[in-house]
């Protein structure tokens, strides 16, 4: 069963920690933002996933060790025309996945400008992950893995090539963010700062 399948909880344990955070998906139109979310949240893939108008909101809960991590995911419309709406969604986000399509060099350029915008305008401690999606279409590859990886390293981003179609690295990229956030919160709690929203 795929829906809420991630909500695996330790038996009988009710005192596990709960970590909840807001994540936003950004990137050029048709790079697969909605498909990544749909794969992560419902385990589904639609070859002809319709374009997102406005925004969609989905949640997914997973367990990492003894912590329940709840992702509140904002999926946005990618076309430049709707760019002005994006701040409404990344405002207050604790994590972002910036997506590009490995078969399209332009989308990589667009991803870079999203990263820049987030670094400039989003919360200062936002975790940004870069996803090179459509990795199943490696024979049409236009963006080299090494190039993207080098860019990600320079900018301190998490980086993975993903495929919403084959599910490759989809859960991994979300969970990697979850682990980072969890660790961050742990640190905050240790330093006695009241981080919780």
């Amino acid at each position: 069963m795929a829906n809420r399948g991630g909500a695996q909880r330790p038996n009988g344990s009710t005192q596990g920690k709960i970590c909840q955070f807001k994540l936003v998906l950004l990137g050029e139109s048709a790079v697969g933002k909605s498909s990544l979310v749909l794969r992560f949240v419902k385990g589904q893939f639609h070859e002809y996933q319709e374009s997102t108008i406005g925004a969609a909101f989905l949640t997914q809960t997973v367990c990492l060790d003894d912590t329940t991590v709840k992702f509140e995911i904002w999926d946005t419309a990618g076309q430049e025309r709707y760019h002005s709406l994006a701040p409404m969604y990344y405002r207050g986000a604790q994590a972002a996945i910036v997506v590009y399509d490995i078969t399209n060099q332009d989308t990589f350029g667009r991803a870079k400008s999203w990263v820049k915008e987030l670094q400039r305008q989003a919360s200062p401690n936002i975790v940004i992950a870069l996803s090179g999606n459509k990795a199943d279409l490696a024979n049409k590859r236009m963006v080299e893995y090494e190039e993207a990886q080098a860019y990600a390293e320079e900018n301190g981003l998490l980086f993975m090539e993903t495929s919403a179609k084959t599910a490759m690295n989809v859960n991994d990229i979300f969970l990697a963010i979850g682990e980072l956030k969890q660790f961050e919160i742990l640190l905050k709690n240790l330093s006695k700062e009241n981080y919780l929203y």
């Binding site: 996933q49 374009s51 909101f57």
Partner: protein, 637 residues
């Protein structure tokens, strides 16, 4: 991610419960039968629905695909193989409310995050036993406003604990017990003036003498007071009079009861033939539009009638004139088509604006309505038609170009017309009506969203005030409805009906905004009683897709229109939106009230919040006479 491995204990089970797949094709209305259960696990209790006879059906399913494959028409894709509904599991702790409809046969389940599972249909018997089982496992209360809606109290008396806490800490009453608080709330309903004054006098004492300790509670108390007051605002009666405790300078417009507005039969061939003179002029276009507004157009007549509705053919043109016009339009179309068809690769490389438009179209054509038969399957030739028309539209209106959402608007038109010339010119007519939706600066969308709030603020005051207090006064959750005129919310058949009704411009301009108000009227109790915030509201509204009843919503929207036209003191801003002539001095006094929108209660509640987080944004002149300013979160729009 793995499944929850543990075996649960079944507390309740009901077979023969139908569920709509969550991604049914818009054509396919089929439902899948299964069993609805409540299961207890170590980690908690869950509501589970599983499709019946999984093994048998999946075999059938495979066979079916095998047959289709043999015929060689379609290739199985991953998306198609997943068309069966999946099992559903909802943890009871995530359940926020449920709604029982259709003679207790249909249940909608709403989760805390705004997810709505809207269609469990009990084929055998009804949902009573399910509701009983839920009530055994959850603390449930029936909504006072909507008798079909049941609210889950997550922790016992959570609300009253908050009340008790605030009142205890304020030390308003000598006895600090729950019943005192509820007595206060009860009294408020019966004797609002005295009770409030009594409480306020105590609050005043505290603010005067204990200010420093009390400050943090101020907002909370204000909210609680506000909530208990607004809940029964209309029921509040003292000596038979309408009575509001904190009064506005002037009352809001009073709307008469909503009149019933039955729907009618679609325009039929006889009626259509009768209305034309011997040369083919439509003699009484108003009459025809009236029929279409009330019942739409018979599907077989749409091919012809839509060309009039969309301005391709003038109503008063003769058959001969139309033939000539069409001939001219065919030429014009192919001339524009040739312009982009003859562009060489080298030209294209030096023409980035064109390349950008072309690439956007390619991306969207491939994923527009692929579930309806007309566009289904790989290499479907109709996709090429869709693409050609949009490319030609780029040449027709290069400045607007292509914007996401336009393929959604063209798709039903092309499905109906099937030939690219008629579809193109009808699409042009449609775009003329809605092109401001695609403004570069979103001005058209912003204006409609604020107009919608304006209408809501008159016809659904309580909801408008609720939305305003929950970061949703910008109405952004209606963005998709408005941008593509409900295209994503209704089935293929329903959207054709809705659009032809809207194209009549009857009974008023902006009738689509009244459609929004009508849908929100249906959903308001769910939104408010679940205390949904910005995200949950957006999710709930998104999840309504394909679950809105068209005819009843149209009736309701028309009813709201009649209420507004008959209302006393209707402000000019609203009159203007629905095409009524504006009035002189009397109404403009009220105009100021509308412009500020915050009534006394709002100010008490939100005073603190407003100052730091909300900006006053000028939305531009809506009425042409009054600049309409609202404290909205529209800074980002």
């Amino acid at each position: 991610m793995s499944d929850i491995g543990e075996q649960g204990m079944e507390l309740y089970n009901h077979h023969g419960v139908l569920v709509k797949s969550d991604h049914v094709t818009k054509e396919d209305d089929s439902q899948c039968s299964g069993a609805l259960a409540i299961v207890k696990y170590n980690f908690g209790k869950c509501i589970e629905w599983k499709p019946a006879d999984v093994s048998v059906e999946s075999e059938m399913h495979d066979q079916e695909w095998a047959m289709v494959n043999m015929s060689g028409r379609r290739v199985r894709t991953m998306s198609e193989s997943q068309n069966r509904p999946r099992p559903i599991r909802i943890e009871l702790s995530d359940l926020k409310s449920f709604r029982i409809t259709r003679n207790s046969q249909q249940v909608a389940l709403m989760q805390r995050d705004g997810t709505t599972h809207s269609s469990f249909f009990f084929q055998h018997g009804n949902a009573d036993s399910f509701v009983c089982a839920l009530r055994e496992n959850l603390k449930v209360t029936r909504s006072r406003k909507d008798k079909h809606l049941y609210l889950v109290l997550d922790e016992p008396e959570r609300e009253s604990r908050v009340l008790v806490r605030s009142f205890t800490e304020l030390d308003l009453f000598s006895e600090n017990k729950t019943d005192v608080v509820w007595k206060f709330v009860r009294n408020l309903h019966h004797r609002p003036y005295e009770t409030t004054m009594e409480a306020f006098s105590k609050l005043t004492d505290i603010w005067l003498y204990k200010q420093s300790e009390v400050r943090p509670m101020e907002e909370e108390v204000a909210e609680l007071l506000n909530r208990s007051l607004t809940l029964d605002e209309t029921e509040t009666n003292v000596a038979g009079e309408k009575y509001t405790v904190i009064n506005k300078r002037q009352g809001p417009p009073v709307l008469p009861p909503r009149p019933p507005c039955p729907r009618g039969q679609p325009l039929n061939i006889d009626q259509w033939a009768h209305c034309m003179d011997e040369e083919g002029r439509v003699m009484n276009a108003k009459h025809i539009k009236d029929i279409i507004f009330r019942g739409g157009v018979m599907p077989t007549l749409r091919y012809e009638v839509w060309k009039f509705l969309l301005g391709f053919f003038p109503w008063e043109s003769t058959n001969t004139e139309r033939q000539q016009l069409r001939k001219k339009k065919v030429e014009e179309y192919f001339q524009m088509k040739l312009q982009w068809r003859s562009m060489t690769l080298a030209q294209e490389n030096r023409f980035s604006d064109y390349r950008e438009r072309k690439s956007l179209i390619e991306k969207d054509v491939n994923r527009t309505d692929r579930t309806i038969p007309f566009f289904a399957g790989d290499n479907n030739p109709n996709l090429q038609l869709l693409s050609d028309i949009l490319m030609t539209y780029v040449m027709y209106n290069f400045d607007l170009g292509y914007v996401q959402g336009m393929s959604d608007l063209l798709s039903p038109i092309l499905c109906l017309m099937t030939n690219e010339v008629d579809a193109f010119w009808c699409f042009v007519g449609f775009m003329d009506k809605v092109c401001s939706n695609f403004d570069l600066d979103q001005a058209g969308m912003k204006q409609q969203l604020s107009q919608l709030f304006c209408l809501l603020n008159v016809s659904e005051r309580e909801l408008a005030s609720y939305l305003d207090q929950h970061e949703s006064g910008n109405m952004f959750f209606c963005f998709r409805w408005l941008l593509v005129l409900f295209k994503r919310e209704f089935s293929h058949q329903d959207i054709m009906r809705l659009w032809e009704v809207l194209w009549t411009d009857i009974p008023c301009p902006n009738f689509h905004l009244l459609m929004c108000v009508a849908i929100l009227d249906t959903e308001k109790h769910i939104l408010m009683e679940n205390q949904y915030g910005f995200t949950e509201i957006l999710k709930h509204i998104n999840d309504l897709s394909l679950h809105i009843d068209l005819d009843s919503t149209l009736s309701k929207a028309e009813g709201i229109y009649h209420q507004l036209t008959a209302a006393s003191k209707l402000p000019n801003t609203v009159r203007c939106i629905i095409g009524l002539e504006t009035l002189g001095d009397v109404a403009s006094e009220h105009e100021e009230d509308m412009a500020t929108t915050t009534n006394g209660i709002d100010l008490v509640t939100n005073g603190v919040e407003r100052q730091d987080s909300l900006d006053v944004v000028t939305l531009g002149t809506i009425t042409g006479e009054v600049a309409f300013e609202r404290s909205l979160n529209l800074a980002y729009l």
